[in-house]
Symmetry: C2
Subunit: 219 residues, 2 copies
């Protein structure tokens, strides 16, 4: 049996332990497939949860925002954060209402975020985020200038303390519902796909849509 | 101009105020379209963010989980929670890397969750959640029995203190990139759809897939 991803109390599941994935490859898989994360932190004593983009390099997560953001300033002040990434794969219909569920893969990372201040590391973080959200753009678009680099806050979080939870497959029903139930049960899969790219009005009509964008529309 | 959704400090946007939606209808729209929320709370001093299902009835949000869940027990103990719902509508490619963005609609609700204990209100909460995640199942599937009702924790949160942030439409580029840039810019829309329902192995082959499930596959 592989070593658990992390064995701290807050990253050990207390419920539905059978849904715990223990492999670091599962963690990487969830983080690499999803597009956004939800960052939680404590601000003036209250929890705050904000959606944001991110990217992964090995066991390091990068996320970013404006240096004017109060929430990001809080995260950069070396406080505890919780970064959660969720992929919804399907709706699970059971014969009983109580066993209705969802198929999903979720990753929860605990740790202290650190603000990246050194220019080269900051650029590396931005490239990691860009390669995750818009692969190909780093080579195609106009690079980040020094003024823009100064105005963006890049944060990094170590993936050491993390847990992954996965539910997949068929519904699970009670023995009496299996024997006597008549309701339909099954899974309605959920899919996320890219539609047709729409050029900005200032892009000349003859400009071809670049391959790195087109490639995402037919996976 | 309509009254702001909420005027508390923590629900007033500090950044990108032009993306703030001030109408309660926008809040309801985001909550009704998304499927899951991310609930943030403070547990043993650390933030925790967990994905969960929910439903809305007027300006009341219901969410649920097992009574065995430590996180839900914490939320039920009348502590501050932050519930965030995010819909990702597209990837925004700009001529400059710095103006790459995402089109999205997000709602952030602050408040104190309350555990519903009275059976009738608990059933109403479960019905609200069911009608949101699996419309039609409340009438179709086997009802919740008293043992199951006792084992589920239903929480309710008032939608009074909330903010909505929306980004839509074309990329926004710098004047110098509009004048001299050559990179492609535009929006790659993101779509979520339901695939073909898969019956559970214990459902007899001749059982038709009910209309309330089929209806979701062709919106």
């Amino acid at each position: 049996m592989p070593a658990p991803l992390s064995s701290t109390t807050r990253s050990t599941l207390t419920r539905k332990k059978n849904r715990a994935a223990l492999d670091r490859a599962d963690l990487h898989g969830v983080l690499d497939e999803a597009l956004i994360c939800h960052v939680g932190l404590v601000l003036n004593g209250s929890p705050v949860v904000l959606p944001t983009g991110y990217g992964r390099d090995g066991d390091t997560l990068y996320f970013h925002g404006s240096t004017g953001s109060g929430n990001l300033r809080a995260a950069a002040a070396h406080v505890d954060v919780c970064v959660t990434v969720t992929i919804l794969d399907g709706i699970v219909y059971a014969r009983s209402l109580n066993n209705h569920s969802m198929n999903y893969r979720s990753a929860v990372v605990h740790g202290r975020a650190r603000a990246v201040t050194e220019a080269e590391e900051k650029l590396h973080g931005l490239r990691t985020i860009t390669d995750h959200l818009t692969p190909g753009s780093w080579e195609h678009a106009r690079e980040v200038n020094s003024k823009e680099l100064a105005a963006v806050a890049v944060l990094t979080l170590d993936l050491t303390e993390a847990s992954v939870k996965i539910r997949s497959g068929d519904p699970s029903d009670e023995p009496e519902d299996l024997a006597e139930g008549t309701a339909w049960a099954g899974v309605l899969p959920l899919r996320t796909s890219f539609g047709e790219p729409t050029p900005a009005p200032y892009v000349p009509g003859e400009t071809p849509i670049p391959d790195h964008v087109v490639a995402r529309t037919h996976p």
